[in-house]
């Protein structure tokens, strides 16, 4: 009889990513109703040092899959390892981060295990014997509660949707699982990370430029983002104009963001854009058109020329931060 929860972690640069702690913490909370144990799965090459990090967030048990073939974090090898860890832990629920890698693993795992999957969830609870997850649909225009009937229930958690809470007194017992990887046909040719750039979906502050930028000079928006320690986003029009890369796009056909502070500069507020930033905690809109739809979906608005207002705002924030 499957029981307990398996929290599948992900790492970058020899440390567990934040989403991993969010996943473990979600598991900890869920285990209060489903019962334990809460097992954290760590997969990679040379990952034993990360076990203590998982324990700090309250994992009862830690399974390590340490294999040279997991070094590059390629989806097909990770899927094989996760499937073997699931077999070893036999959990009722598998939690995983809905990152680019996590989504690939979750989708294939559901097919491999013939198990229900709820992707990109912002909440999860147990309702009697079944797991109920809440997930945005239609680019965030709708929230749906879905039930997962089958075992294990696979729930992929949206980054930043859940809180990571350190749990005291947990003494996670560490166990190494020997995984065998074969038939991997995917090979890594090249990896390119944008250094020094804060990922939009992980940022506490997002400053977005829209059509009102009038061109590819985003210097004022970049300066404000830098002053706030945030990331720069772009509306679809700004991306379509070729002013910013596709990876900067916020909206229904781009990225869904949920920062504490979202500042939209020269963004009119098309419905697709509003959907992509609706979960932000506080929204500020700066636009010279007082009739722009964005003003009806913000917390604070300033009507005026962004090229005057944004530098003034940056100066004020720099003053504040000394």
């Amino acid at each position: 009889m499957p029981q307990g929860i398996l929290a599948v972690t992900e790492q970058a640069d020899s440390a567990l990513k934040n989403i991993s702690f969010e996943v473990i913490s979600t598991g900890k909370k869920l285990a209060e109703t489903t019962g334990g144990p809460l097992t954290a799965a760590i997969l990679g090459a040379g990952v034993d040092a990360m076990a203590s990090q998982a324990a700090e967030y309250g994992a009862d048990r830690i399974l390590l899959a340490d294999h040279e073939g997991l070094k590059d974090g390629l989806a097909d090898a990770c899927i094989q390892a996760v499937a073997q860890l699931v077999a070893s832990a036999d959990p009722a629920v598998v939690l995983i981060g809905a990152t680019s890698l996590g989504k690939d693993i979750a989708a294939r795992l559901s097919a491999r295990l013939n198990a229900p999957l709820a992707m990109d969830c912002v909440a999860v609870r147990a309702d009697g014997d079944r797991i109920v997850a809440t997930r945005p649909m239609y680019g965030g225009k709708v929230l749906a509660d879905v039930s997962l009937n089958g075992s294990p229930a696979i729930v992929a958690i949206r980054p930043r949707a859940m809180e990571a809470v350190a749990a005291q007194g947990a003494a996670g017992e560490v166990e190494t699982v020997a995984v065998s990887l074969d038939g991997s046909t995917l090979s890594l040719v090249e990896k390119h990370m944008e250094t020094g750039k804060i990922e939009l979906t992980e940022a506490d502050v997002v400053v977005t430029g829209g059509r009102g930028m009038g061109g590819d000079d985003f210097a004022v928006v970049e300066a404000l983002a830098k002053a706030l320690g945030g990331a720069v986003g772009a509306s679809r029009s700004a991306v379509d104009e070729g002013w910013r890369p596709v990876s900067d796009q916020v909206g229904q056909t781009g990225k869904v963001v949920a920062p504490n502070l979202y500042i939209a500069c020269g963004v009119s507020g098309a419905i697709q854009h509003l959907a992509g930033m609706a979960s932000s905690r506080v929204v500020v809109a700066i636009n010279k058109d007082p009739e722009a739809p964005i003003f009806s979906k913000c917390d604070f608005g300033i009507v005026g020329d962004l090229f005057d207002l944004v530098p003034a705002l940056t100066a004020e924030i720099e003053k504040l931060k000394g």
Partner: protein, 256 residues
């Protein structure tokens, strides 16, 4: 190259979404249904590959009669043949859809399968990789560039905060990401020609695939909390407004 494209018909992204009275689905009246934008990229990429390597492009969709419109659009863009699997009202979750599609794809001999990385209605990110899993072939998601040569495919894909260049063997499945291409518009002759092309319609019950009962069910839908109109910060000059906004963000909203 024999190429298959998986496509879905979805509400256009500019649609206002309302929830049905029983709370388990969206209201469909007045919705403009279109091909999922990522699937348009899939059709475009398949057509570009066909232009280089020869072969055929077959588009697959699972859904009611209405879905034929999206398939016709793909035919008008230049796809060779279209297959519609009719579920006849049977409810299917993402995995069930993948099972049905994989079952039909196995009946062909496709070198490459292309789909969108997600459909912009249920945002599942599931069907593409799940189809690949059920067919025991590799997949690469969120592709922004690809090259096919000598039975292999090399793709650049987006990941959180960067890109990967990956290579794998064919047959394989890839999913599209914005940046891969700009889908063409169907030409008028293309549209005329597409009207005459038959759509191979297969009732689910005759496919030989039993997807089983859906394991994921929508219990309730609701609209997320809506923001009311924001407070407009007034001031004579830009500097005054900036001071007032920073004060509000610091003292009221407590976000900086």
């Amino acid at each position: 190259m024999e190429i298959a494209v998986l496509l879905k018909q979805v509400p256009a992204t500019e649609s206002m979404i309302e929830i049905s009275d029983d709370g388990s689905a969206i209201k469909t009246e007045g919705i403009n249904w279109v091909m999922n934008p990522y699937d348009e990229m899939a059709v475009e990429e398949a057509l570009q590959i066909r232009a280089d390597t020869g072969g055929t492009v077959t588009v697959f969709s699972l859904g009611p009669e209405k879905v034929a419109e999206a398939l016709r659009t793909a035919l008008a863009m230049g796809a060779d043949t279209a297959v519609r699997i009719d579920p006849k009202g049977k409810p299917l979750d993402g995995l069930a859809v993948a099972k049905v599609l994989a079952g039909e794809l196995k009946k062909g001999a496709f070198d490459l399968i292309v789909g969108g990385h997600r459909a912009v209605d249920d945002d599942n990110f599931q069907v593409g990789p799940a189809v690949a899993e059920l067919m025991s072939i590799p997949h690469i998601s969120m592709v922004i560039k690809q090259d096919v040569a000598d039975g292999r495919i090399r793709c650049t894909r987006t990941i959180d905060g960067g890109t990967l260049v990956l290579e794998t063997t064919l047959p394989a499945l890839i999913t599209t990401q914005r940046g891969l291409n700009e889908p063409r518009y169907a030409s008028l002759p293309g549209i005329m020609k597409a009207k005459k092309k038959p759509i191979d319609t297969r009732p689910l019950s005759e496919t030989g695939t039993d997807p089983g009962a859906p394991m994921v069910q929508i219990l309730a839908m609701r609209l997320p909390p809506q923001r009311k109109g924001g407070r407009i910060i007034e001031g004579d000059r830009a500097g005054d407004k900036a001071v007032a906004l920073v004060k509000a963000l610091r003292e009221e909203a407590k976000v900086i």
